[in-house]
């Protein structure tokens, strides 16, 4: 990992370095649960997606859902990680009403996926490599409902038994920016792979963040774990707050208690949830209801061969094939839908080699800019990839100028329609016919003899003439032709 690029925090006694590791819980995209046939659909009536196994009825047994295993292996491959052909499911024992079995089936000593790594993009084109420690499969818990009765709590087991992938990073993350970039990148990879929908609002992706601080080069400090974060921005804020809190304690001569904390986004602070002493003894042991999870290298190879193109590969292709900057390429590939949109624009372009890069600029600047302004995402864009490609074609072939194109984009955004037909019907075509422009140029030179005289000494004032010509042509004159014509007429 690159150590040169991270942010240090200034304290009274000098600089402090943050050491951050993350456990991400990603809900596996699958129709049924990890060990039962019940549906994983979100938002059903409470307890409408609960099988006898999920409710832990007497004598019920778990049966592994092979699709969830495939999803975990795919994800492992997407993280460039070691795939373990044999892994073991363990029971994590604890009592809580959201866990009917009285234990969670998880993988403790022997996870399905081992070490891997992820490269994350930072501001200014910097990157950092974050190590993956492991990925394992486990059951999600149900949900307690405390607002249904004044003196009872109710339990909804719809989520109970849904497959989660817990992805554990190495403590390689050094500041909030890297942490946010890591979650963003991981989410992007999962969504490309189709192994998790990454919907943080629905809780499909949640992070536990371990934070400690130290003087640069010093041994690791005591860490605190901030639980259950479901917003990338909150993760950044929580890390900043937590690191500052720890620094303050250490600089006051205190020590950090290893504990679990919660982030309160309203107050912008973390607070203690439970101390190490209150931590459970989970009495892990191999689940005797399940055989070790074993599959062949051929099984892995087959999944690998069918893996979709991942963000990093797509980014490299965009850079190599269309001369995009690494930054622009990474903006386009960050969301699978954006990348697909851009690729569709490319497919529709008349001259991809000539206009591919311009298309990227249009997608990033005009389209994303406009979408952001209105708080919409790419899937709800009023301008389709086909329409945008047509606009880019019109610019590329010289039919309209970039400026007119912006007007055209606005019309298409507001009213829809075929851009080429709109250009025709609304007379937006660029005028390249010299005789038509010449008249305008002559008129303007004649009306401004003093300015025409000055221009020989002050060539930069040519811009004023260009502006006047463009204005009186309604922006339709070809700027290059106007420029050339003015120069020859003014003798410069």
């Amino acid at each position: 990992m690159s150590t040169a690029t991270h942010k240090l925090l200034k304290g009274a006694t000098g600089d402090w370095e943050m050491v951050i590791g993350m456990e991400i819980h990603a809900q596996v995209t699958s129709n049924s649960k990890l060990f039962s046939g019940a549906s994983t659909a979100f938002g059903g009536e409470p307890n409408s997606h609960v099988s006898l196994v999920d409710a832990a009825m007497p004598g019920m047994l778990p049966v592994i859902n092979e699709e969830c295993v495939r999803q975990a292996v795919r994800t492992g491959l997407g993280l460039n990680a070691q795939i373990n052909l044999c892994s073991v499911f363990d029971r994590k024992n604890y009592f809580y009403p959201d866990s009917p079995q009285g234990y969670q089936i998880s993988q403790y000593k022997s996870p399905v996926v081992g070490e891997g790594e992820v490269e994350v993009e930072l501001d200014g084109g910097r990157t950092a490599t974050i190590g993956i420690e492991r990925l394992h499969l486990e059951q999600d818990a149900g949900k307690l409902l405390h607002d249904q009765s004044p003196n009872m709590s109710y339990v909804d087991l719809n989520r109970c038994g849904v497959a989660l992938m817990e992805i554990v990073s190495k403590p390689d993350i050094r500041d909030a920016e890297q942490a946010k970039a890591y979650v963003t990148k991981l989410r992007s990879i999962l969504r490309y792979l189709g192994t998790c929908d990454g919907d943080m609002e629905k809780g499909s992706l949640r992070a536990d963040v371990n934070v400690s601080v130290r003087k640069p080069g010093a041994p690791l400090g005591t860490r605190c774990e901030i639980k259950n974060m479901n917003s990338i921005n909150f993760i950044g804020q929580a890390i900043e707050y937590e690191a500052r809190r720890q620094i303050e304690i250490l600089e006051d001569g205190g020590q950090i208690d290893q504990e679990t904390r919660l982030y309160d986004p309203n107050k912008g602070e973390t607070r203690s949830m439970r101390s190490k002493e209150e931590a459970h003894d989970y009495r892990y042991f191999p689940d005797p209801d399940l055989l070790p999870l074993e599959f062949s290298q051929e099984f892995v190879d087959e999944l690998k061969a069918k893996l979709p193109e991942l963000p990093d590969q797509r980014k490299m292709r965009f850079v190599a094939d269309f001369g995009l900057s690494a930054y622009d390429a990474s903006v386009l590939v960050a969301e699978r839908e954006s990348a697909v949109f851009y690729e569709t624009v490319l497919d529709r372009l008349a001259n991809r080699a000539r206009d591919g890069k311009m298309a990227a600029n249009w997608v990033i600047n005009e389209l994303f800019g406009r979408l952001n302004k209105e708080g919409r995402d790419i899937t709800g864009s009023p301008v389709s990839a086909e329409q945008l490609a047509a606009i880019v074609d019109l610019i590329g072939e010289g039919t309209i100028s970039g400026k007119i194109a912006k007007d055209l984009f606005e019309i298409v955004w507001q009213e829809g329609g075929d851009p080429r037909a709109l250009v025709e019907s609304r007379g937006m075509k660029q005028v390249t016919d010299l005789s038509a422009i010449e008249k305008v140029v002559d008129d303007i030179i004649a009306a401004n003899p003093d300015k025409a005289a000055q221009v020989k000494d002050k060539p930069q004032s040519l811009g004023w003439f260009v502006g006047q010509v463009m204005k009186s042509s309604g922006g339709k004159a070809n700027p290059q032709s106007v420029n050339d014509l003015l120069k020859s007429k003014l003798g410069i």
Partner: protein, 491 residues
């Protein structure tokens, strides 16, 4: 009609097929016998209406000539098996009046083959016990008494209700489960035949779990042939239990009467315990002699890790049980004792719902899995288990076909006689049987004689994985030589 109850299952099948009597008659005869034997407390739930309905249905099928292999045969079901619409409690107060909406795979296969359910049978609470004294429904009486005594004895456990009911001719056969000897020890105590098949032979789906890696269902029956017939219906691969094995179920009955000539029978020297009663020793020798005269070859074998089996078992089984029983928490079904908060609800429910032996094992299990003790207990016990398995593998690799041992270290004892002060006294009942569960092997207990007080004693045969057939062949040789034993009726 009461003499219908004295038939073996095989004889009854013949009579039904020949229309000598109907299933309804056969079923009624057993229902009357059950009613007359309530003092034994073998049945904790009688289902006469359901039994007669199933019998009528079987009769109709037999009439049409499409009755299954067990058409019209009335059976008792251990209360560990979930039965749809019929209360299932594992004989624990904590399950209250739990009525499953589902049927265990094993029992559903029995019904598929035409069998009739008479009711649910008593057992030790969650199958934890060797005398059927831990049941929340009270102890079961053994139909056998010592000569000249009217002291009620235990039928063994945990499948005490199954063994007692079959021995007292209340049902033609019964389902049972065996985690450390719970089929074979009660069979030996009641002069019935009990087989625990290879781990994975029967589905565990729908059977209340005690220790998942050791639990296995099997039948208790009146004869070796009857046991073979029942096991054939109970066994088979089930995709709902991933530990069940996908191997075709053979026609076990075909193994009955097959020559055992040339078979190599191992006599393990480590099973010769210090202080073993002379009559057990004598029984063992008699069994060996019968097999020898049938043409089998006897060889002394060594199973060097035998002495560690019982201690290791009492780590592994409680460890799994402590986790398996966590689901009985008062939240979703069964007993609930309210509390001021969720922790109190758990504590009150489990304190009230579990009996003393279950609590003891949950505590042992929780302890051996705790951080800091796991390696010293659970992990070490698993290593012992691997060594025990290897002992048997080595033995079978030398060409041994089956191993002959006593089934129990003594005959049945009186209710309240054992384990009151020291639970280990009770645990020692399973000294010859737990190794078989630890190794996942099949084991059969066959009645072989009586002790000086007239109580039945049994021998155990241990086989290779999935070779139950050899056990049936050898078991029948012992049965033929020893004869059948029926208790004098006193109830």
């Amino acid at each position: 009609m009461t003499d219908l109850t004295s038939l073996t299952l095989a004889e009854a099948r013949k009579g039904l097929a020949a229309k000598a009597f109907t299933s309804l008659e056969l079923t009624d005869a057993h229902l009357s016998a059950i009613e007359a034997a309530r003092v034994l407390n073998a049945f904790i739930l009688e289902t006469p209406d359901q039994a007669r309905a199933m019998a009528r249905e079987a009769d109709a099928k037999i009439e049409k000539g499409d009755g299954g292999p067990l058409a019209g045969i009335p059976l008792g079901i251990k209360d560990l098996f979930a039965t749809r619409g019929v209360r299932t409690t594992a004989c624990s107060k904590i399950l209250g009046n739990f009525v499953p909406t589902y049927e265990s795979t094993v029992t559903s296969q029995l019904w598929r083959d035409g069998a009739v359910m008479l009711g649910k049978l008593n057992n030790d609470e969650f199958a934890m016990g060797s005398s059927n004294e831990t049941s929340c429904f009270g102890p079961v009486g053994n139909p056998w008494r010592r000569d000249g005594s009217n002291t009620t004895l235990v039928p063994g456990g945990s499948s005490g209700g199954s063994a007692s009911a079959v021995a007292a001719l209340l049902c033609m056969g019964a389902t049972a489960t065996d985690t450390g000897g719970s089929i074979r020890q009660p069979a030996a105590f009641t002069a019935t035949v009990g087989i625990k098949p290879t781990y994975g032979r029967c589905s565990r789906w729908g059977i209340v779990a005690f220790a998942s890696s050791l639990d296995q269902a099997g039948p208790i029956a009146r004869s070796v042939r009857d046991a073979a017939m029942l096991l054939r219906s109970m066994a088979g691969h089930d995709p709902k239990d991933t530990t069940s094995v996908d191997i075709a179920v053979p026609d076990y009955e075909a193994a009955i009467g097959k020559s055992v000539k040339g078979m190599k029978i191992g006599i393990p020297r480590e099973y010769r315990l210090d202080g073993m009663p002379a009559e057990i020793e004598k029984l063992w020798e008699a069994g060996a002699a019968w097999l020898k005269s049938a043409g089998a070859e006897l060889v002394e074998v060594s199973l060097p890790h035998t002495k560690y089996a019982l201690p290791a078992y009492y780590i592994v089984a409680p460890a799994e049980a402590s986790s398996n029983l966590a689901r009985y928490d008062g939240v979703r079904y069964g007993l609930r004792e309210q509390g001021r908060n969720i922790t109190e609800l758990y504590e009150n429910t489990r304190a009230e719902g579990f009996g003393a032996e279950v609590k003891r094992r949950v505590m042992i299990g929780t302890y051996v899995l705790s951080a800091g003790y796991y390696d010293a207990y659970y992990l070490r016990a698993q290593k012992v288990r691997t060594l025990i398995k290897k002992d048997f593998e080595d033995c079978f690799a030398k060409g041994v076909d089956a191993i002959l041992t006593p089934a129990t270290p003594s005959a049945a004892f009186g209710i309240g006689e054992k384990g009151g002060a020291d639970p280990v006294e009770m645990y020692l009942n399973d000294i010859f049987t737990v190794t078989v569960n630890m190794a996942g092997l099949p084991g059969i207990a066959v009645p072989a004689g009586k002790d000086a007080q007239g109580l039945p004693l049994g021998l155990q045969l241990i086989g290779r994985p999935f070779d139950e057939e050899t056990l049936f062949s050898l078991g029948e040789v012992i049965e033929q030589a020893a004869g059948r034993f029926t208790p004098a009726r006193w109830w």
